[in-house]
Subunit: 395 residues, 2 copies
Amino acid sequence: MNALNGIRVLDLTRVLAGPFSAQILSDLGAEVIKIEQPGKGDDARQMGPFQQGESMYYMANNRNKKGITLNLKSKEGKKIFLDLVKESDIVIENYRPGTMEKLELGYDVLKIVNPAIIYGSVSGFGHTGRYSKRPGYDIIAQAMSGIMSTTGWPQTGPTRTGTPLGDVLGGLWCAIGILAAIQAREKTGRGQKVDIALIDAAVATMANITMIYLTEGRLPQLIGNRYESTYPYDSFTCSDGQCVIGVANNKLWAKFCQVICRDELIDTERFRNVPDRVTNYAELKDIVEEWTSKHTREETVQLLLQAGVPAAPIYTIDQVVDDPHIAQDREMFFTQRHPKAGTITLTGSPLKLSDTPVTLDQPAPTLGQHTEEILHHLLGFNAEEIMKLKKQNVI
Amino acid sequence: MNALNGIRVLDLTRVLAGPFSAQILSDLGAEVIKIEQPGKGDDARQMGPFQQGESMYYMANNRNKKGITLNLKSKEGKKIFLDLVKESDIVIENYRPGTMEKLELGYDVLKIVNPAIIYGSVSGFGHTGRYSKRPGYDIIAQAMSGIMSTTGWPQTGPTRTGTPLGDVLGGLWCAIGILAAIQAREKTGRGQKVDIALIDAAVATMANITMIYLTEGRLPQLIGNRYESTYPYDSFTCSDGQCVIGVANNKLWAKFCQVICRDELIDTERFRNVPDRVTNYAELKDIVEEWTSKHTREETVQLLLQAGVPAAPIYTIDQVVDDPHIAQDREMFFTQRHPKAGTITLTGSPLKLSDTPVTLDQPAPTLGQHTEEILHHLLGFNAEEIMKLKKQNVI
């Protein structure tokens, strides 16, 4: 059994933030029906990388979903959608605010058809407020939330995080909002609207950085890989790569000095306490790298871990994929058979639930793969009616 | 009414990932009882910035919680904890794996006392696997997940994201896992263990980047602020600051060329289609900055937005806090009265739920603020017994 068995989701989302959010629900066992435009589908189907002509970008965010096509601009398509809403628990969309209303399928319409429906939306700036109608992309959320202004180096300026972080955070918060709404409905019997903005989602991750400004009026600066609050807590160059070391307190500092055979540093005044080490970080970085540069990254990390000092390699993506703890023990990579792409490797779920584990066995749907099944079983259409809808380009 | 009213959480977490996760539940209306070590409390109470001597770091991650002190190493403390477990729905902790077992308070013990208890854990590497016992900090998750290796510039190397992203992601996934477990329990009546690793949480955010390697065998590189898949989609320098522009497709490219009065570029072969613009991004960056450098950031963004081209300023934290859409319309900053710190400003919640909105009115507890209330009302201790527990350093 999965945690969300018995929950049905209509997934109107495209590209990343929305599909990622709905996929969290499908991994947890919800029946997610992805609704795509006939003939074209989710834009992500055109986005690389491709395997046997099938988009891996799409497959990475739409596993465990069923896929149907439906033209929401047609009268018949709208009617079918509203009939599906009657049979469902959740609708999730990531159109620009106003689009669903223009289709006459906004939350106000859906809740009349099904008062228990939970309506989850992800948009750049949210469904309320003065910037609501602005187009919102991942890079815009990273820029306006302050994340970029605190990521990077003085010599390079504000830096975008390499993963589409704004989209990912929006998707995670939307999943949280929807799950909370499911719980609320257990008591009230009513659905509700969950309105997630990429920009809000990103701002909320900056909380303890933002506190520095809100309390002291001091602007967090670009400081590369070190932390403001302790040192050595930074990246360091080894003979064959880079590692990070996390000496968070005096106890770890003493252990660290012993590992590098520099016991005399433990009580050196310039480095004695955390604030001293933070102040003299540049000198300390040279001392640490004098040691790390004589060892391989693997040796460095192992020597430190054996002494109880937190340390890790800075992995490139191939090293992440090959790491036995990540890939095998924690099952963060797994393979599926896809009818067109063949055997594919995907990233697993970090949700490790002991009683109702996630199930990751169904590949993403081909365009319209389950249209007939859903229309027949859920709404009772027969083969002739389905043929007619196809001819009319409704499905 | 809030979404999680009637749910009681015992929060044993410290510093960031765990407290942030439990705060999501408290914002949603769960009764979260934070359990801290007598006399000392959560380490975050010693972390700056401070207002009137009170840690804002702590207050930013522990609002809406009640706070009690309890010595889990004492026999009496363990007994009280187990009695609280009987009266609760959720336990959440972020100790290093094995610590709760050493206290004889692991999930195996708690589920005997209360089979419906949901046990949420956040740790660096998770409760299973070969690295399970390694110390895990935010920087270690950022390093080993590949996030650092794809963030930054060729000349600076792998770059840490400015916010403690590993902790934040771990906290978000833990909240999702716990909410899913609540839903599962509605059907099974049983609780379960939710085992979230910072490293898994971070790996899961890299999915579409990781696909590039898994499909093409090509390693994602450090490419600064541009994207691999389209251009101009990057940061650009204006006369008084930096902005980002998101020209994601040909339609936006035509609009963009019109705004900068360079219509002839639309059909220039070197820039005609997305792959052409990606290939010739360096030349294009100069062309874009020839225009942006003549305008202020505000002018640049407004001119582009008026033409329907996605654009945004790269905000510093003060600008985020002062933005009227973010701060006022979306209520992402708000004030509270704290008994010791006075009026404080905190970051709001991105969870905008129409029927059961979050409530953010209670400040974080002072150390042991609700010990007597909880012991009396929940477990029936009288004043004399509470006095005795204090003398014995149990509370």
